[in-house]
Amino acid sequence: MRYDIRLTISHRYAQAAGNGRHALRVLPREIANRQHLTAHLIDIFPPPDNRHDSVDFFGNAVCSVTHSEQHQKMVIRMSARVGVMAPAGHHSGGSGLGQLALDLSRSRDLGPASPLHFLGPAPRLLPNADIARFARDTCDLSAPVTDIICQLGLALHGAMTFDATATDVDTDAAEAFSKRRGVCQDFSHIMIIALQSLGIPSGYVSGFLRTLPPPGGVKLEGVDAMHAWVRAWCGAAQGWVEYDPTNATLVGTDHIVVAFGRDYSDVSPVIGHLRSSGAQVNSQAVDMAVVD
């Protein structure tokens, strides 16, 4: 299956801003046997003085740009064609928590995919007693790790209400959980903290989600935004699985990965810094259309 993805992020500044510097993580990842980029383009307006492409610790593509001249508005446009294969099927069974702990204690791997990076804490993943209790109370800890992940995801989806007005990008997971409301970012952070409290390595995935058009309807441009979900490690035998707690589903071919990290701070699409005194308004639009 192939998709054409277009992302537009714009920042408008009330006061002209200068000396801007931004790190962008917006390009879908290349993942062997899963996701393949056939064409891609990142276009920035105004044209940056300097552009530098690199790869971060977790293997995500980072595009760094600088703008020294004053400007009122910055627009980032990314377009890519991505081919997707279904992830390897998840079969029931497999390692339990005991085997998982044993696998972890034997690991000396510091590479980007090592589960050891995902045990917590991280800037936005602080241990939380309420979330840990929720995890203990809703999961059968004697079950295989894959089952625990699905149990937890389902329980969380049931307990939380999707509400784009209850939280913002800076809300921490503890607050969102106590409100039982939030968006994909909150669902994902809460689930990661819950899994880590059980000793299951887990991390944050940013990406795009295909929104299916209503029967007979036409897909509207820009109704989608960048999405987030969770990746968890089920032991040396099974490795990583991805789960989308906002939609209570294991990840299949509807999800396109942009970046892997520990939490949102590792993968934020735009990390920026500029010299400006005024307020800033950001907007984002995504279109993910099926090619074939």
Binding site: D56, F57, S64, R108, S114, L119, S265
Partner: protein
């Protein structure tokens, strides 16, 4: 080599030592187990003994006064606020024998090598992890291990250049390393100030005793910074978190002492991978950064995104090896407490020999056998976070359940995140309390630098001495004190030059030292605020002089003065004093932000002004005394101006300060004349203008006894010789501005120079009669626009 010309007696001075009690189970630095004073202490004790109580008190006060005057402070925090406190010097030194110091030095140098090796590995191949010598989670769960720095090789090849260690002596007499301080080894600069203070306390003793000097250490470290700069002509900067940081005074001090450029994160920008400092002459390259900001906060793009004190792009510059960092970003991972559990083994593996100076015995509870050991020995262990970088015994967060069951549960649940550390009883050292010497627990901080001649240990340092018997109360926050450390004996020390003469001046950083825009901005505002305060003092004095002469506070002239020249302030003396108090306080804030560029004398003068003003406001001053008191203030503020003119080096910084003063004075005078020359102004307004303009005498000499509006406008507006006139100060401003960087390179005038010249010319070509209130207000607005243009050109 030690000479004791007068007294050969080995007996302890009775009266000072009568109360001296060694603590049970602990060693003492001054007396041995049998209670005899150690030979290395004897000459000092004899000297102290020879002084009377009064003399001692007097000398100690002199040391404290020195530190106070030099601006050596530390910041004390409580729940809601912080305040600057005097540096808590304990004037009794800790004295170590040269041979013992040599042994300690060998151990510390070995440890510095070891730490450099470990750091290189942890940010490089990580063989210590893959070979099983270090558990992987000590990195992967450690907030101090900064992933963006993995694979980044320092341009110089050196990860570490300056370290400090806290060491303590256990009951067996051996020294132990308590903590490794590598991130931003703080307060090395205060070791110098401590030492200078001690020479004020014991001047005669210093000239005769064979005490190792510490200045050479700094000279050699400075040399290392120059080596790191290599052939580039970039600046060597000391990067500080800024005025809000508890150690800012020390940053300013050491920058001034070593001739480094003191910068904050916002002073630096990264352009195409190169680090530049924003100066009044545009961006200038930086080659070496001595960093005093916590690593994670140095780059809000690559590291902690919440940091407000960093420089975006700094990590990128490091990755491209465009700048040298002392020490490398991410070095704090070495301070991880759990590392102490593994360093002894790593040392044997790496050097083929044991640590010469052991560190406090530490067990990482991620392994079953170590957990068992900690539980079995829990009565002499503290259990705490494996990742904390605080020394365990100073860490108030440590909670160790003593009950075996609870401890086992805790360790089994989260052993990977915990360590057990053996409690050591530290040695004691004398402090002077209420006329006698008392034994208090202490530990010593020593500094190790990489120099062109290899690693060097500063032959001195400072001891932190506990406030009570409790060895955990070291923190100055909890009343602990700081004592100088003397290394004596051994070879006769080199010439007793205490302050490094020539350090920082022998090797000029550049012909015209770069002035960061932020520092220039603060100097400019310092000048403006001080001048504004003076102007308002004059208004205040004029007002009260009239009231004292029997004037009614509500007389038309005084009411007019308050309403039109003092912003409609109430008639009370307190409210009116606030008009100069608040600019003085703002001046102080600006001065504090440029600690390295503003002299301690100037700082003292400002403090004095604020204190005097405070006194005037907060106590009841009889009406008739107010003009007298305000005259004192005016004399002091004139003294401050004198300091600027007589003592400040004619640098760009001085120019910005002077432009600030001139533009503020010209602007205030334009406003004053606009109001007092107005047809609406009550009787006596012209005399008032002359008085505030300090021009009564010269006016009478030139004109008549009666004030005439045109003559007043002549004298205070267009006169080119009167240092109170608008024109005089525009000429001064023009002259300073023409000397600023980038101003003289072209025949095309800059915006700011053009505006100043136009306005000066307008005044020069005006007849006094043309200076109507309307024209004067326009002149004031033009002066403001000069200030804006100056800011745009040099300060943002």
């Amino acid at each position: 080599m030690q000479k004791s010309p007068t007294s050969q007696t080995q007996s302890a001075p009775r009266d000072l030592l009568t109360a001296y009690r060694q603590q049970a189970g602990a060693r003492d630095e001054m007396v041995d187990k049998a209670g005899n004073v150690k030979p290395v202490w004897q000459p000092f004790l004899d000297h102290l003994q020879g002084l009377g109580d009064q003399d001692i008190a007097h000398r100690f006060a002199r040391g404290n006064q020195y530190l106070h005057d030099a601006g050596v402070r530390f910041r004390q925090y409580n729940d809601t606020a912080s305040e600057d406190r005097d540096w808590p010097l304990s004037p009794v030194p800790v004295i170590l024998d040269q041979d013992e110091f040599e042994r300690i030095s060998e151990g510390l140098i070995q440890r510095a090598e070891l730490l450099d090796y470990v750091l290189r590995d942890l940010y490089g191949p990580a063989e210590l992890v893959s070979s099983g010598q270090l558990p992987a989670t000590l990195l992967t769960q450690n907030p101090a291990w900064l992933r963006p720095m993995v694979g980044v090789e320092p341009a110089s090849g050196h990860f570490l250049n300056l370290l400090s260690f806290e060491i303590g002596r256990g009951p067996d007499g051996k020294w132990w390393v308590i903590s490794d301080l590598v991130e931003a080894p703080s307060t090395a600069g205060f070791a110098i100030e401590n030492r200078v203070a001690m020479t004020k306390v014991f001047p005669n003793f210093f000239t005769s005793a064979n005490i190792q000097r510490i200045a050479g250490f700094f000279r050699d470290f400075q040399q290392q910074l120059f080596e790191l700069r290599g052939k580039s002509d970039g600046q060597i900067a000391l990067l500080s978190p800024g005025q809000g940081n508890q150690n800012y005074a020390e940053h300013a001090y050491i920058a001034r002492y070593l001739g480094l450029l003191l910068v904050e994160g916002e002073d630096l920008i990264v352009q195409d991978g190169n680090v530049m400092v924003r100066t009044v002459a545009g961006p200038k390259p930086v080659s070496v950064i001595w960093n005093r900001i916590p690593s994670a906060l140095t780059d809000p793009l690559a590291l902690d995104q919440t940091s407000l004190i960093g420089t975006p792009g700094l990590v990128d510059a490091l990755a491209r090896q465009r700048v040298n960092m002392v020490n490398s970003i991410g070095a704090a991972v070495l301070e991880t407490r759990a590392l102490m559990a593994f360093l002894p083994k790593i040392a044997r593996q790496h050097f083929g020999e044991a640590l010469k100076l052991p560190n406090i015995a530490t067990w990482w509870c991620g392994e079953q056998s170590k957990r068992d050991h900690v539980i079995a020995n829990r009565d002499r262990m503290i259990v705490g976070s494996a990742f904390s970088t605080e020394p365990m015994m100073a860490d108030t967060q440590t909670a160790s359940p003593q009950e075996a069951g609870k401890m086992t549960e805790l360790l089994n649940r989260s052993g990977r995140e915990l360590v057990g550390q053996e409690v050591i009883t530290l040695s004691t050292t004398p402090t002077y309390e209420y006329g006698a010497l008392v034994a208090r627990p202490m530990c010593i901080r020593l500094f190790v630098a990489r120099t062109p001649q290899g690693w060097q240990v500063m032959p001195g340092g400072y001891a932190r001495v506990s406030a009570g018997d409790d060895a955990t109360a070291f923190a100055m926050q909890r009343g602990g004190k700081v004592a100088d450390v003397w290394i004596t004996g051994g070879n006769t020390v080199e010439t007793p030059s205490l302050l490094v003469s020539g350090s920082g001046s022998t090797q000029r950083l550049s012909a015209r030292a770069a002035l960061p825009s932020r520092a220039a901005d603060n100097l400019f505002w310092l000048g403006r605020y001080v001048e504004r305060a003076e102007h308002n003092m004059r208004l205040f004095r004029a007002c009260f002089a009239r009231i004292n002469d029997g004037g009614n506070p509500d007389a038309p002239l005084l009411r007019y003065l308050r309403d039109h020249l003092m912003g409609g302030v109430a008639a009370s003396s307190g409210a009116m004093a606030a008009t100069f108090e608040s600019p003085l306080e703002q001046a102080l804030v600006a001065a504090r932000r440029i600690g390295d560029r503003f002299s301690p004398d100037g700082m003292m003068a400002l403090h004095d002004l604020v204190a005097t003003t405070d006194g005037l406001k907060n106590r009841h001053v009889p009406l008739e005394d107010i003009p007298k008191e305000i005259s004192v203030l005016l004399r002091k503020i004139t003294g401050f101006a004198g300091l600027v003119h007589e003592n400040m080096y004619r640098s760009d910084g001085w120019r910005f300060l002077s432009v600030g003063i001139s533009l503020e004075r010209a602007s205030n005078m334009a406003h004053l004349l606009a109001k007092l020359l107005s047809p609406d102004a009550p009787d006596g307004a012209l005399d008032l203008a002359l008085e505030i303009g300090d021009s009564v005498v010269s006016y009478r000499a030139r004109f008549s006894i009666l004030a005439d509006p045109v003559a007043v406008a002549d004298m205070l507006g267009v006169d080119d010789q009167n240092p109170r006139s608008i024109r005089y100060h525009l000429s001064r401003a023009k002259w300073h501005i023409s000397d600023l960087p980038g101003q003289s390179s072209s025949h095309v005038l800059s915006e700011v120079a053009r505006k100043t010249l136009l306005l000066e010319t307008q005044l020069a070509a005006s007849t006094p009669a043309e200076l109507t209130p309307k024209v004067l207000l326009k002149i004031q607005r033009d002066i403001w626009s000069i200030a804006d243009a100056l800011t745009q050109a040099h300060l943002v």
